[in-house]
Amino acid sequence: MSAPAAARTPVRRLAGVLHRHPGLRLAALLSAPMTWLALAYLGSLAVLLLSAFWTTNEFTSSIEYRWTTANFLAVLTDPQYRTVALRTLGIAVSVTLIDAVIALPMAFHIARVAGPSSRRLLLVAVLTPLWAGYLVKAYAWWVMLSHGGILDWITAPFGGHSPGFGVPAVVMVLAYLWLPYMVLPLCTAFGQLPDSLLDASADLGAGPWRTFRSVVLPLARPALIAGSVFTFSLSLGDYLTVQIVGGTTSMLGNVIASNVTLNLPLAAAVSCVPVLLIVGYLLAVRRTGALDNL
């Protein structure tokens, strides 16, 4: 037999070494993704954090590598950053709530009420907007919201007019943009809901509302939270939508963008605010246990 000969080939020998050393095996498996994670992802975050401690030349806006905490102090003490941070947080929370309220019945209908063929059509309808570019959608809303646009035209017979450009417009457009990210996880969760539980609830005398509150919602909670992570973090970091339909509104993203050209260290310090908000949100989510099922 050729088996003893094969045992001496380098490949077999390597396999043997790896078999005897589980630690080496693990290191070989993990080194590539860990390198990527550490260098590309954590590395860039570290550079961001580090550059927030530098300063710029007031006149030329060149970066000077002098250690200072003034940028963080400005972000913490200057009321303008607090105003913008709170406004951004408010917008992100509103977008998340609106998406949850719209997506819950939508996803429930798609997953449990619609027939198989219309379910497929509805899912395609939810996904189709993701095929269009982000800017195209934002500018489409600009056209709809603008003076004499479609919203003016629809609401005119009732004496209304377009909300114009501002915070309400930003919330509307962001809620539209991120809705699929809320619908899809909920659809999956509702699809996996066992019929027996709903039947049992009905047998025990619960009405539809009571069933929804006590059975459906607790089971769909992880999906709801997963969806909210998307809508919340995407809204928190957005700065293009607000530039297009925000009028004079500015969000954290705009403050960062306007400082990137003139005062990179300050922009880096401001960037830490959304990073901290997201980390805080994720930690809060983890405490609910929703991440355990992912």
Partner: protein, 400 residues
Amino acid sequence: MSIRHPLRALTAATALLLAAACSSNAGGSSASGGFAPPKISAQKSLGAGEGTVNIVAWAGYVEYGQDSKTVDWVTPFTQQTGCKVNLKVAGTSDEMVALMKTGQYDTVSASGDATLRLIAGGDVAPVNTALVPNYADIYPGLKNQPWNSVNGVPYGIPHGRGANLLMYNTDKVTPAPTSWGSVFAADSPYAGHVTAYDSPIYIADAALYLMRTEPDLGIKNPYALTKPQLDAAVALLKVQKKQIGSYWSDYTKEQAAFDSGDDLIGTTWEVIQQAVAGDGKVKTQAILPTEGSTGWSDTWMISAHAQHPDCAYQWMNYIVSPAVNAQVAEYFGEAPANSKACGQITDNPNFCTDYHATDESWWKNVYYWTTPTAQCADGSGRGDCTTYAQWVTAWNEIKS
């Protein structure tokens, strides 16, 4: 476990990488205020072109038919010199400064509020005007000015100058405005349809209005503001913000907002008004209000790190040649810098009179963009003026 070793190695590698990133640029810092420019020597001679030139410019300065098929002076340049033009349009001077810092561009059409910052930062090199034959025909009044030279060393080729005008929708805005007061009033009938330029330098527009309307503040020059004067301008701009529909820094944004009727009145560049007129959706007019206005005198500068300096020099010479300078001036709506350009204007025989190309007394009412420094720009010799960094903070505060 052995897993700890790769992690430690990675940490070390990251630290090394960071150290490298920090040290690579460390030579770039320089003095501020009354500054001495870094020692960079001008190019001595011109070689054959490199085949490409990367340009940062204002909208309307480098046209290859992108806006209108008939407006194209880049194609003849490429045919004559073999230099392919790559254009990056910037919306504000701050953007221009940031783009030039990347070192990826060869030449820039910088306004007076960017030029000194670029010179002091070592981002642009002095210009050897002997390599630009058309420099001889530039109006003497534009040469060796404080915004394009340091200690008599020229840092660029003057391109042209113009004013920031007040544009309004002639159907909706009646009576026709004559004063900047119509964009600074607290109870504007056009509330929500007023627009303004989104840059810290716009503070000067408010300062200019205060200089004319509130002499008690003692503003002598809109770019030389003491702290109380800056605060007054900021207060005025905060009042204005309540009337603003949206700010613009991208000129297409203002064009679209006027076309749709969202904006009815606000500050503009002549070229935007031309574009709105070209779209034919609304009727507009652009005027110089009674208070005068802020404006700009632009300069073509060459990057200190230019990878295509020969093509850049050829571009600088080409763009200020009489025929092309006339073409740009007419398209953009500004006064040309080349004294022979007026003879080359084809459509409007009164163009140079209309744009006051030689009328220096008219330009006294136009305050060219300048970077505010602690050294007051009003010639008083005082050193208690607010710096551009303070203007940036103030602008962010207005917008927050």
